[in-house]
Amino acid sequence: MSAARTSPRSVAVPAPAEGTGWVGKSIPTKESVRFTTGHGSYLDDVKLEGTAHIALVHSPYAHARIRSIDVKEASAMPGVLAVYTGEDIRKLVDPFMQLAPPPADKVLDYPLAVEKVRFVGEPVAVVVARDRYLAADAAEMVQVDYDVLPPVMDAESAASPSAPILHEAIGTNRVWDGVYEYGDVDGAFAQADLVIQEKFHYHRFNSAPLELNAALASFDRRTGELTLYTNNVMPMFCMPLVASSLRLPSDRIRVIVPDVGGSFGNKINSFPYMVLVSVLSMQLGRPVKWTELRSEFLAAGTHGNERTFQIEAAVRKDGTLLGLRGEAFDDTGAYARYEPAGAVIWAQVAFSMYRHKNLRLHFHSVFTNKCPVGPNRGYSRAQHLFLYERIMDRIADRLGLDRGEVRERNFVRADEMPYQAPNGTVLDGGDYARALHRVQEMLDLPSLRAQQKALRARGRYLGVGIAAALDSAGNNFAQVRVINPHLPFSGNSESARVWMDMMGRVHVAMGPTNQGQGHETMASQIVAHELGLNPEDVHALPGFDSHSHPYTGHSGAYASRTAVMGGGALLGAARELRRRIQVIAAHLLKTAPEDILLEKGEARSRRTGNALPLSVIGGVALGNSLELPLDMDTNLSVTYVYRPPFRIPSHVDKKGNFTLTYSYQVHGAVVEVDPETGKVHLRRYVAVDDCGNMINPAIVEGQVIGAAVHGIEAALLCEAKYGADGQLLASSFTDYLCATSLDVPPVEVEHFITPSTAGPMGVRGVGEGGGTALPALAAAVEDALSPFGVTFQDSHLTPERIQSAMRGRAPTVPSPP
């Protein structure tokens, strides 16, 4: 299927079924009214009478045995309601279910450390007090005595049999370990003109949403119901974990997610804290609130997976990549909160955007004495894509070819779409080479090269780096069975409910939470589009509430899935409601349902022009129903579940459709590197993005820019760096350097629109392409410093790393004195 060609920025929307087309319009978001006036309701804004607050006591050690915990003094402090240690909590809850196959499924993971601490910042005890200040005062007085153990600080050493063991119960630091093999890898290497060996490291960082994790639990002893407010963005996916740990049936737990101040995947790891406040509320009989501190988030929230690759690439001398083989070590931190999912999710992009057929990767997922990992603007994929982009650069450099040409030679071509990769994943459309060309045009590459040359003669070093990436969305949960065939989940689904009340007003609610992607706006646009309304006239329920919102076991806002999965559900529900309205209207207007057009809040007969406002339809159906035949369906509330046609991948050959859609992006960076200081000045940053049809292009653009900036800052500023002794060095915003308005240039974005051949409405997910910036910037810095012949293996480039790589090197083209 060929790609639709549309000029950038012009938006092709699917033709509206009826009425005015709201899908595809950059309308201001509905949410922005409350957010600009200070009336957003984030978790800490939720106040319940009599709420107690908690403060956590954290481990200052990376690895230690807890010898004793003395809570006497803390318990006696004013305002303190209770102090619990990990041992106390262990008696009240069950350990969290583990996703790993044996033996790592025997890991005992509780809300507070039990017996041992395994990373700096791990909570070991909790104080519950009347207010936050008093809780903090008492937490300081909890005395914990430790026997310090040697920490294991990198995955490769942790995987070695002689390493100290974190979880003695399983006797190994391996979470999972296995080989993915596709094609004839050794055959590819036998044909190679050149074999490139490299080691790459993808560092730890997170996207640090501005609102911190938080949870508020209120247990009603009268009804036995727990109301759990959380800003976890896949609360119902967490529900089985939370309910089983609390030993509560799920019908006794109501989950409410108010406005969420950003997540970027970082907020799905908060379930231990959700369980903690819940059990405390159940014990104390009053609401209990936790609001995380920034230092807690940085140390014990979540980090993206840190990965080391030892890799070989088989290459033909024309730049064709024939195959890759090697090992990947994933440093997953101290507990496997969703791991080893990271050991398989990368396989959604196993071959990236490239046509080569042969890959063998031995994947090691390993415990270390660091913060547990989780998604960060995508889960496990940016790491793998980084590898590909750096390999493409290496191929070009080693063969003396242009880095862009090498990519083009290896890209899957537009006329091959939809393209099935050797592991069974299907790329659902796009023109990768054209996006690359467009980025080169936007950057005006020839003039950049001339400028580069002129500047070099003056001892200044300009460089350009271009990288490409896939942004997959709507994953198939069955992929986890590749690593653990017995896990009881598979597929993917999302639910939406659209309903009309007796005044003819239309409401919508869906499963995914809203953390800034404008879900209420997008839902209103789709529903308005289908029902011939103005989005202003569609009431989208804010946030998520398990009492009022529909959901499935996959519900949540993660994996770029809302536009694709939520969009599919919204579309299905809105269309079914439209059909029901048409049937009723047709009866009242004495015409056929197909003759009824919904437009401007009316149901109108195309034939006669007679019309009824929706309020009449709602009024009759719900309040005056004897006007309608008894066998006519007057239910104007439609819940629809959207399910993509997935199959269960085989755990034998590890092949299958791992995900539904693939957006793609090409990013270009222009940098100037100060060779004396190693500081990188980012001069320009451009991105071409293709996520298929866009429901609200301004929202898409915001996602693309925001993601790019997270990638830029990850490459240049943000690193969750640990010292050799296991201490987290970047433990506050003083050292964890989120980009300010002065650190990033205005990112320039253009959109291609190739409607997806897989997703509903031709849309693909978007928002996780930011990882593209890491290889783009590494490439740009190398390009700038190419006269010095320095290369970088790390995804994070500090001035000092660059400066020390430069030390003692002179440019090959000497600059004039």
């Binding site: 903090a136 300081e140 004396e676 690193e719 060095l729 050292d735 300010t740 001035p799």
Partner: protein, 295 residues
């Protein structure tokens, strides 16, 4: 985070401040609070009594002292210093350094006196005041005294200002047309504490060829803000040349013991001192030549 309990005492006159400081045992002066309050929130500092002097009206001013000096009240905010026309005319290095401090909100509250007394080795103003040979007027129970900058900064977070004293004002000189200056703050992210900070003042001969006087103040490379005395001595009286500036840069690391953190090792900081002393000297010389009509 949440500070430990303390007693808050707001005072409205210098005398009242001194009286309260004298009375209480564990008192600490609160000026703008932009360094102290974060430390207290993190519970890395927990004074028993906070004596808030920010309400004293007559400590916030910038005024000429004759032709040759400017007096700056200790409660003058960084924002006021950054926008002072008088300082811009007479002592432009100081507004330049102040403009780079943190961000607008912090500059709106942080004060020159607070920053000086906090004596964070990585602050921007202390090395600048050192290079200016500023004078610090301190008032205490025994009256007032004036301390030259080179004696003011005693050790890590420690100055001549004793527990029962307050810094009243700072006097900086008017820089004549022979003077050139530069303030360079090198960091990974704008507004942060520098990896190294370099304040430079040079005075040229009337031809703009020879360095009559050089003063180099450094931040973030020693337990206190400090001067690169060896480089200064070396440059005095020298004819300006790239080789001389480079040699001076080399000598500017003499006696430095920078600490290491994740943004820069001790060695890296030493390297950066050399880079920015050289560049800062070039910039200052260019400025002096322009100002002196010898471009």
């Amino acid at each position: 985070m949440y500070p430990r309990p303390f007693e808050y005492r707001a005072v409205t006159t210098v005398d009242e401040a001194l009286r309260v400081l004298h009375e209480v045992e564990d008192g600490k002066v609160l000026a703008g609070g932009q360094s102290l309050l974060p430390l207290m929130k993190l519970r890395l500092a927990s004074p028993g009594v906070l004596v808030d002097i920010s309400g004293i009206p007559d400590l916030s001013y910038i005024r000429p002292q004759g032709e040759n000096a400017v007096e700056i009240g200790s409660l003058t905010t960084h924002d006021t210093v950054a926008h002072s026309a008088l300082l811009q005319e007479r002592c432009p290095i100081l507004p330049a350094a102040a403009r780079g401090i943190a961000d607008q909100q912090i500059r709106n509250r942080g004060t020159i006196g607070g920053s000086s007394c906090h004596a964070d080795p990585a602050s921007d103003l202390p090395p600048t005041l050192l290079a200016l040979d500023a004078e610090f007027s301190i008032v205490g129970p025994k009256g007032s005294r004036t301390v030259p900058a080179k004696e003011f900064f005693v050790d890590l977070f420690e100055t001549q200002v004793q527990r029962d004293e307050i810094l009243h004002h700072i006097q900086v000189p008017t820089l004549g047309p022979q003077w050139g200056w530069s303030y360079t703050k090198f960091n990974r992210r704008e507004g942060d504490y520098p990896i190294v900070g370099v304040a430079i003042l040079v005075r040229l001969d009337s031809h703009g060829r020879r360095l009559e006087e050089v003063r180099i103040g450094l931040a973030a490379v020693n337990p206190t803000p400090c001067r690169a005395r060896a480089a200064e001595r070396f440059l005095q009286g020298q004819e300006i040349s790239p080789a001389i500036l480079k040699e001076a840069a080399h000598r500017s690391t003499e006696g430095l013991h920078p600490g290491s953190d994740m943004h820069g090792s001790s060695q890296y900081r030493r390297d950066m001192v050399q880079v920015f002393v050289r560049r800062g000297l070039e910039e200052a010389v260019t400025r002096a030549r322009l100002a002196g009509g010898n471009p």
